[in-house]
Symmetry: D2
Amino acid sequence: MIDIQSDVGQTRFEIESVGVTGLSYPIAARDGATGAVQRTSAKWRMGVALSAERRGTHMSRFVAELQKRAAEPMDLDDHYRFAMSICERLDAPRADLTTEFTWYREVKAPVTGLVSMLENHVQLRSVTGPRGGKTLQVTVPAKSLCPCSKAISERGAHNQRSDIRVAVTFAPDAPVLSFERLMELVEQSASSPVYPLLKREDEKLITEAAYDKAVFAEDIVRNAAQRLYDLPNVSRFEVEAINRESIHAHDAYARVVFER
Amino acid sequence: MIDIQSDVGQTRFEIESVGVTGLSYPIAARDGATGAVQRTSAKWRMGVALSAERRGTHMSRFVAELQKRAAEPMDLDDHYRFAMSICERLDAPRADLTTEFTWYREVKAPVTGLVSMLENHVQLRSVTGPRGGKTLQVTVPAKSLCPCSKAISERGAHNQRSDIRVAVTFAPDAPVLSFERLMELVEQSASSPVYPLLKREDEKLITEAAYDKAVFAEDIVRNAAQRLYDLPNVSRFEVEAINRESIHAHDAYARVVFER
Amino acid sequence: MIDIQSDVGQTRFEIESVGVTGLSYPIAARDGATGAVQRTSAKWRMGVALSAERRGTHMSRFVAELQKRAAEPMDLDDHYRFAMSICERLDAPRADLTTEFTWYREVKAPVTGLVSMLENHVQLRSVTGPRGGKTLQVTVPAKSLCPCSKAISERGAHNQRSDIRVAVTFAPDAPVLSFERLMELVEQSASSPVYPLLKREDEKLITEAAYDKAVFAEDIVRNAAQRLYDLPNVSRFEVEAINRESIHAHDAYARVVFER
Amino acid sequence: MIDIQSDVGQTRFEIESVGVTGLSYPIAARDGATGAVQRTSAKWRMGVALSAERRGTHMSRFVAELQKRAAEPMDLDDHYRFAMSICERLDAPRADLTTEFTWYREVKAPVTGLVSMLENHVQLRSVTGPRGGKTLQVTVPAKSLCPCSKAISERGAHNQRSDIRVAVTFAPDAPVLSFERLMELVEQSASSPVYPLLKREDEKLITEAAYDKAVFAEDIVRNAAQRLYDLPNVSRFEVEAINRESIHAHDAYARVVFER
C-alpha cells in the first residue's frame, strides 16, 4: 500500500510536536525511589518533532510501542528511556511524552491512626534532546486557612480545600525523589493535610491545627519552594497553589518558578 | 434528493428522545418575573420522541427553529412554548428542551455595600405532553460551616464552598418565580452567601456570621426545601447541596426530592 | 465528644440520599461472568436515605467501610452486597452506591490481528430496597457513518466517533452479563468498532466496512436495544448514542428506554 | 483593621504570578478590527508578580477593577491597557491577564445560504513588561478527512471533527487582526468548515469537498502557519490541531510554534 506519510513535502515549518493525545492506556506505575508499584489507568500524550521535509509521522507506532511496554512497571527513569526509544523508533529529532495517573498514598488519621487511601495526581514528563529532561509533577489536595480572616475575626476563619501542584525537573541522569516524599513535602506547606477517613477526635485536631497555621496561597508556594530549593539534583521547579476560596465562587492562586 | 430519515422502519422500539446536544447558541435570557434580560452563550439539548414506525428525525430542523428564535428574549414560559413549536414542527409525540447558561446577579458586600456580579447557573427545561412541565433549575454557590467541627473544636471550624442546586417544576400554565428570588432563597439556606468582591470589613462579618450559622449538607437541603414547600404553584422540587469539604479531597452531598 | 449528627430534628423532609461523592478510591474490579480482575482507580458516590427524624448521617462510616472492602475483588453482585452492608452499618432505610472506572478490553485489529487495550467505561450502581436493583452501565466508543451523507454524495460520507452508553438493570438475584460481552454487543450496533492500534491494512478494512454499514444515532440505539431485549434476566435497559458529528460542532443523540 | 498582606517577609522567592482564577464575570467583547460587540460570560484569570519582600497581594483589587471595567466594550488593545492599569493599581512589577469566552460567528451554509451562529472560542492574553505582549487565541471547530484512509480505501475515508487552536502574539502597539478573519483563516486550513445548520444539498457539498481536500493534522497546522507567516505585525504564533479520530478512541495532534 502507498505510504502517504512519507511524502517529501515542501513546507518551511518544522512541526514542534505531533502524535497522539487523550489516549487512555494501562500503566504499572513505579515509584523509582521506593520501588512501590500501582496498576491503574493513565492518560498518555506521545509526540515527536518532525522536520520540515517530512509530511507526516507514523501515528500507529506510538501505540504499538506503548502496547509492548505497558505491562511492565515504569518509573520516571523508565519513562525517560521509553521516550528515547520512541524517538529512535520514529526516527525523530526529539520525543516528548506525558503520562498522568492517580497514585494512592496510604495516610493515617492524626489521632485515631485510622488508615485510608488518599488520591494524589502524578504526571511524568520526559523530553529527549539537549534541552530536555525528566519531570515529576504531583498535585496534592490540602487545607488552607486564611491569615487575614483569622486576624480580623472574633471567631472562626475561612478555610478551604487547596490543590497544590509541584513540577520538579531533574537532569536525565540524576536520581529522582520518591513520589510520596514529594507529596508529603507539598502538603506540609499548607495549613493541614486532608484525609479520606477522619473520626471526631481527628477532625478536632485538624480544625485546631489548621487554625494555628494560617497561610495565604503565597505562603504555601514559598513554603514548598524553600523545601524544594534544598533538594539535590533539581534543575528547575514550579509550584502552584489554587485555593478554592470558601467566601467566593472563584479561586485564589499563586505560583513560583525557579530555575537553577 | 432522497430522504432517508423518512424511511418506514420495522422496529419495535420507540425512541424516547432524539436530537441535538452540546450545541452552543446565543440566548437573550429573560427572568419571567422581573423582565430583566441578559444576553449570553447557552448550551442547548433539543429532542423529540420518535415513534417505532419512523427511522429518523430531521436534525437540521432543531437548529433552524433555534436560529429563528435565538435573538428574541426568552423566559421559562417562552421556553415551554418553544418546545411546543418544536414538537409541532418535527411532527413528534413529545419534545424536550434543556437550556443552560450563566446568569449574573448583582450582589452587595454586606458591610461596605460594594457591588459585584455573582455567577449563578440556570437551566430551563421544558417537556411537552401530559407528563410534561416546565422546570427552573438554579445552581448557586454558598458557604457552609460544619456544626460538628465547631462543636468539638476549641477554636475555628472547617468550612468550604458549597454548590446548591434547586430544580422547581411548575404546571405549564402556572406563573413562575423570579430567577433571582429563587437564588436568594437558596443561598439563605447555607451558612453564608459568597461574593466576588469583599473588603476586610465584609470578610470579618462573613467569617463570624458563618461561624454563628453552622449547617450540615442535610440542613442546607432541608432549609431550602421548607422555603420551597411554602411557594405556590410548585408541583415538584429537588434540592441538592454539594459541600467541597475542606478536610477531605472528596465532597459531601445531600438531596431532597418532593412531589406534591 | 458530642455527636451532633444524632440530634433529633423536627423536619418534615426525608433526605432521599446523603453521603459522599467525588471520592477517588482504588478498586479491584471483577467481571462477574468471566472472573477477570483489573486493579484501577474508581470514582465513588455512596449514599443512604435519612428519615425525617434524624438530623445527619455519619459520613466517615462510608469511607471506613470502603477502606475495609477496597482491596478485595468486587463484581456487580459484590457491589450490591456492599450496598446492603452500608445500609445496615448506617442503620438506613435504603443505600445507593455508584462506582465508575475504566475497564480495558483487549482488542485485535481486524486484518493484522495486532493486539491493543481499548478503554471502556463501566459504572456499577446498586440500590437496596424494594424498588432497587443492580445496574451495569458500559460506555463504549465506536464509529458511525451517516446514511444520509452516503446516499446523497458522489464520493465519501461523513463519519465520526460515537459514545454509546448502555445501562442494564438486573433483579438483585439474577446472574449478570460479562462486562466484555455487553461492550461487544454495543459496539456491533454502530458502523464499526474502533481500536487503539491499526496498521494500514486494518484502516482500509474499517474505512470500507463502516462505509458499507451506515447508521443513524437512531439505528445504533435500536440495534443495541434489539440485542438487549433478547437477553435473559433484564428488568430494564437504557441505551444512548452520542455522535460527535464531523460536519457540526455539536452532537447528535438518540435514546431508548425499555422497562419490562 | 490590620493588613496582613502588607507584612514584610523574608523569603528568597519572588512570586511569578498571584491572583484570582476561575472567576466568571460578564464581558462586552469587542472585535478591535471590525468594532462588533458581543455581550457574554467570560472566565478570567488576573495576576501580578510579587517581589520577594512582600508577603501577599490584595486579592479584592482585581475584582474591584474588573467590576469598574466590565460593562464597557473591551477589545484586545483595551485588554492590554486594562492589564497595565491592574499592574499600576496593584503596584506590581508585572501583570498578566487571561480572558476566555465564546464568540459567535454568523456563517452561511455553502449551497442553501442558510444562516446560523457558529461557536468559536476566544482567549485574550495580556502580559505587561519588557517580555510581555498581547495575544489573541481562537479555537475553531472544523472537519478533517484522512489522506491515508482515502488513498488506501476503495470507498469512503475516515473523517472527524477537529479543534484548531491558534495563538497570535502582537507587539503592544501593533494593530490587531479581526477575530473573524483569524477564525476564517484557520478553518480554511482543514478539509472543510463545519456549520450548525445544513440542509441535504449543503451536506452533499461538504461531504464531497472534504473528500477532495484530505489533510493530516500536520497539514492543517502547516497550512495555517503559512497564512499566519504572511500576516504583518505578528511576533510569535502557535497552531495546534487536535483531530478527534473516528477510527480510534484517542486523538491525533500536531503543533507548530514560530517566533520571528
